[in-house]
């Protein structure tokens, strides 16, 4: 949270470390780094209060490039390290950078538990649907049938659907954005920051070496409008060229309707309500369905007490109830006797 103390305004440069960025030229990670560095000064918060934690993978090099406190940890464990940071000092703004492999395969357990505990930590999950740093094996978000080095005859795994996973784990802020959509990403990062609780922001990120064009449908001028469903809270679900299509619900079943054939109007469309969990589940379920557009934006957000606040509340309550701990008293608790 912004502090009361007036601090000199920070700039993007203040968040840029002296380390050479070593992602492949053209990697989607560059854009994410750029948006974070661009928007962080707007948070109006002393930069020593920001901490970036990561696991292992291409995305996890991120902390080295931010001139904040940072910790590049071990594979899959960034979620837990971040938890420890927040528990030791709830006053910090803790950011977790992870990928589809780091966060949902080796670190899957920690991810779901972080979400259910709802610590005020912001997760940036770079989803490129491939293992990049280990050179091209399929990941838990790779589509079924994908041919990779470790699946020469096609992957047999069903992919995870990140927002659905986060919903299932009782996440309180679940959003999705795209590496090349700078404006939208900045907006999502700002909303994730403002959310009190664990923010889960999935960022579709292109790996041009091992899984190029995985998300081109969402960025290409030709297809973008038809494939992207940009969610706005309180707004009808419109998409398509010039807003010519929409999503309506037939009971619990979503359907794409044509707004130009005179049969349907905007009034028939579903209106996004980010506090509606059932709606969020149905929306996230569209992710791998080719006949539907893929939802972007804040799918779900509710308020729920943060874990770390409750931890310190319990400590405060214990102190006011029992008095501040006294070691001498502790040693003498129970039966004691004196030998002369």
């Amino acid at each position: 949270m912004p502090t009361d103390v007036a601090t000199p305004a920070l700039t993007r440069k203040d968040f840029t470390s002296d380390q050479m960025v070593r992602w492949c030229p053209g990697c989607g990670d560059y854009s994410i780094l750029a948006q974070v560095q661009k928007i962080f000064p707007d948070m109006n918060r002393p930069k020593e209060e920001f901490v970036f934690i990561s696991g292992i993978g291409c995305s996890s090099r991120f902390p080295y490039y931010m001139d904040t406190y940072g910790f590049h940890t071990i594979h899959g464990r960034g979620m837990s390290v971040a938890t420890g940071v927040k528990l030791a000092n709830p006053g910090l703004s803790v950011w977790l950078v992870t990928g589809d492999g780091d966060g949902m395969s080796i670190g899957g357990n920690h991810l779901i538990h972080l979400l259910r505990r709802n610590l005020d930590i912001n997760i940036l999950l770079f989803n490129n649907r491939i293992y990049g740093l280990t050179k091209g094996q399929y990941s838990p978000t790779s589509e079924k049938g994908m041919v990779t080095k470790s699946t020469p005859f096609g992957s047999l795994d069903h992919p995870f659907n990140p927002p659905a996973l986060a919903l299932g784990a009782a996440g309180t802020f679940i959003a999705r954005t795209l590496d090349v959509d700078a404006k939208h990403m900045q907006k999502m990062i700002a909303e994730a920051y403002r959310h009190q609780g664990t923010s889960f922001l999935e960022i579709y990120q292109n790996c041009l070496i091992f899984n190029d064009n995985a998300f081109t449908d969402y960025s290409d001028k030709e297809t973008k409008e038809d494939r992207q469903l940009l969610l706005e809270d309180g707004q009808p679900m419109i998409f398509g060229k010039g807003g010519n299509k929409g999503i309506r619900f037939d009971g619990h079943r979503p359907q794409v309707v044509d707004l130009e054939n005179g049969k349907w109007s905007v009034d028939d469309l579903a209106v996004h309500d980010k506090s509606d969990k059932l709606l969020a589940l149905m929306l996230s379920d569209l992710t791998y369905q080719s006949e539907f557009p893929t939802p972007f934006g804040v799918l779900y957000q509710i308020e729920k007490p943060c874990y770390e606040k409750q931890v310190y509340q319990q400590i405060d309550d214990a102190i006011s109830k029992m008095g501040k701990g006294d070691l001498e008293k502790m040693l003498r608790s129970g039966h004691t006797w004196t030998v002369d």
Binding site: E48, G84, V85, A88
Partner: protein, 625 residues
């Protein structure tokens, strides 16, 4: 409720030491009975040592051999070191308990059995072909006191109209009352305990107290036990005492270290026998400011602790052997990032899940070597239950003063065992330094050594203006901490991490040698074998043997003077509850032909075993000369 009344006077005999084993079904409350006897005995003023032994299953089938739970206590008017070799008294609440424990009873020892539980079904479950209580031959060498405790308790609580199940559950208090009579201690402390524990259920308080008193009075009037015993108060150093279990002492040591270091403690763990009690205890000490975190798994427990350490807390994680295996990679991260961290391993027996409730010292190799790459850590081991307090404090002190991870190797025997503890003078414990930097002078480098003596790096924690920096598990530049793949830098950093551990030896107390500093044989022990070794060496020295005892509480680095001390003896014997882990290090480090003594029965050594081995070695060596 009647006060304990004295019946007709029976003769009283004074004895120096007594070992009692309470044994029964898991549901019979033997642990509670044993710990109550210990508390009363400690307050009475005897020296004592205890050893609980219980099955890993919470409720193994009632009456089965697998379900037997026991608690052994040795108490004495003299200084004692162990829970005793062979029990003098066996309390057997059912046939299975008798079956399991009778072979351990000393000749002419006393068996107190609850005959009510010797039913056909229970006999069958325990594998007795006929009722052993009726077998005169079996008890030819023992004294049998069979009492229908269940019936006597039923009679005592008749007017309370309690269900049979609750009556049966009070029989342990009858046995306890009987033992209190037998050894001349009062029931008052236990009555108070019962009143507090079952405060909300007055009928249970009443039933338990009546059972306790019934047991006491039964001893007083019964002819089957013609004599009672007195074990006089032990001569102990003056001061205030309490009875303490190892895990409890360990938790207190951590809290004390946090206060002496002026840091908040973050303790993170995942439930695992026999380490969970540390988490439980610390969770109740919230008013001391400790943050306890029950993580989703062992890896999360240690990595959360590492995050807390990065953020400037006193970070501690606790586990048992299998959990330490899971934490291995993260310990490497703490080594590589040179962060202070305390890792507690309350060892259990065996590989894999092993024997969760039994004790062993077989994780020394794991603690020393269980990581990828060259990843040395400091390894410490407490020697007794109360020593867990001091060694937990030491682990925190070394971690913070040297900026590195420390593994503390306790074990099930220490963790659950108890002994009287003369309370420490907290003021005499040293303050604990740390390497926090709070101000920026413009050229902060995260890995630049400022403390040449300890090779400790500065600890700048998130939230400190101007000291923003990044660390990680990749090899780091020796000054800036930035990623560095340079070969010479890697070599230098590897040596630095090794030297950091070695330098701890300059910041350790001198090694204490018990006995003369030269002689025929020195017993070199570590960890929980302390009591058995000390008792054995004491006895042999009283008989004029030139034997000494050296006990290691610091296992890595080894004390600077260790080799020199060992070389002054003709023989070095190393007893360990493993297949020979320390002994190999001693042989490798000092080229000493140290003799291993090993067992892995899930039980501690008893002094007689050590004594016999020493005598065999001495005899062999004198025969050879």
């Amino acid at each position: 409720m009647s006060e304990t009344k004295k019946g007709p006077q029976k003769p009283v005999e004074t004895v120096e030491r007594v070992t009692i084993r309470f044994a029964g079904d898991s549901g019979d409350g033997m642990q509670l009975t044993g710990s109550q006897f210990s508390e009363t005995t400690a307050v009475f003023g005897n020296d004592l040592a205890t050893q609980p032994d219980y099955p890993a299953e919470i409720r193994a089938p009632a009456g089965s051999l697998a379900g037997v739970s026991s608690f052994q206590i040795q108490f004495s008017s003299k200084d004692i070191q162990t829970p005793g070799d062979q029990p003098d008294v066996l309390v057997a609440m059912n046939p299975a308990a008798l079956k399991v424990h009778l072979p351990d009873l000393r000749k002419n020892g006393m068996v107190i059995a609850n005959s009510a539980n010797f039913t056909k079904r229970n006999l069958q479950l325990a594998g007795w072909e006929s009722n052993p209580l009726e077998d005169e031959k079996l008890f030819a060498d023992y004294q049998l006191v069979d009492v229908d405790m269940t019936r006597l308790v039923s009679t005592a609580v008749e007017d309370l109209n309690m269900p049979n199940k609750l009556v049966a559950r009070s029989t342990n208090m009858f046995a306890l009352g009987l033992l209190y009579w037998l050894y001349g201690r009062g029931t008052a402390d236990t009555r108070k305990f019962i009143e507090t524990k079952f405060k909300k259920r007055p009928e249970i308080v009443e039933a338990n107290i009546r059972a306790l008193e019934a047991g006491y009075n039964y001893g007083d009037t019964l002819e089957a036990i013609p004599i009672s015993y007195v074990v006089a108060k032990a001569k102990m150093a003056s001061g205030m005492y309490r009875n303490i279990m190892g895990n409890q002492a360990l938790a207190m040591g951590l809290l004390t270290a946090a206060e002496k270091a002026g840091l908040r403690m973050v303790y993170s763990g995942y439930p695992i026998t026999p380490a969970s009690d540390i988490l439980h205890m610390l969770a109740t000490y919230k008013n001391y400011g400790v943050v306890t975190f029950q993580a989703e798994d062992e890896i999360s427990a240690i990595t959360a602790a590492i995050g807390a350490s990065f953020t400037g807390a006193l970070a501690v994680t606790g586990t048992s052997g299998p959990g330490l295996a899971l934490k291995g990679e993260a310990i490497g991260l703490a080594v590589s990032t040179e962060l202070p961290l305390v890792i507690i391993n309350v060892q259990r027996a065996g590989p894999s899940t092993g024997l969760p409730t039994k004790t062993e010292q077989a994780d020394l190799n794991q603690a020393l070597y269980g990581r990828n790459g060259e990843a040395p850590v400091v390894v410490l081991a407490p020697a007794t239950p109360s020593d867990c307090f001091y060694m937990a404090f030491e682990a925190c002190r070394i971690a913070l003063e040297h900026m590195l991870p420390v593994i503390l190797l306790s074990d099930g025997y220490l963790g659950n065992g108890s002994e009287p503890w003369k309370l420490p003078d907290l003021a005499s414990l040293p303050p604990i330094l740390n390497h926090k930097v709070t101000e920026s002078n413009g050229d902060y480098h995260a890995f630049e050594i400022k403390d040449e003596k300890r090779l400790a790096r500065p600890w700048a924690v998130p939230g400190t203006p101007g000291l923003e920096h990044r660390i990680g598990g990749l090899e780091k530049d020796a000054i800036t901490g930035n990623v560095n793949y340079d070969p010479d830098n890697h070599q230098a950093m590897t040596i630095r991490r090794q030297q950091k551990v070695e330098r701890v030896a300059d910041n350790m107390p001198p090694t204490e040698l018990y006995g003369d500093d030269t002689g025929d044989l020195v017993v070199l022990g570590w960890g929980s074998t302390y009591g058995a070794i000390r008792a054995a060496v004491q006895r042999l020295r009283e008989n004029g043997q030139k034997v000494s005892h050296l006990h290691l509480r610091y296992l890595n680095p080894l004390p600077n003077d260790l080799g020199e001390q060992l070389l002054k003896f003709r023989k070095v014997m190393v007893p360990e509850l493993n297949m020979g882990q320390l002994v190999r290090i001693i042989r490798a480090e000092f080229l000493i032909d140290a003799i291993p003594v090993n067992k892995v029965l899930g039980k501690p050594f008893v002094p007689s075993e050590i004594e016999e081995r020493i005598m065999t070695i001495l005899k062999e060596s004198s025969d050879a000369n």
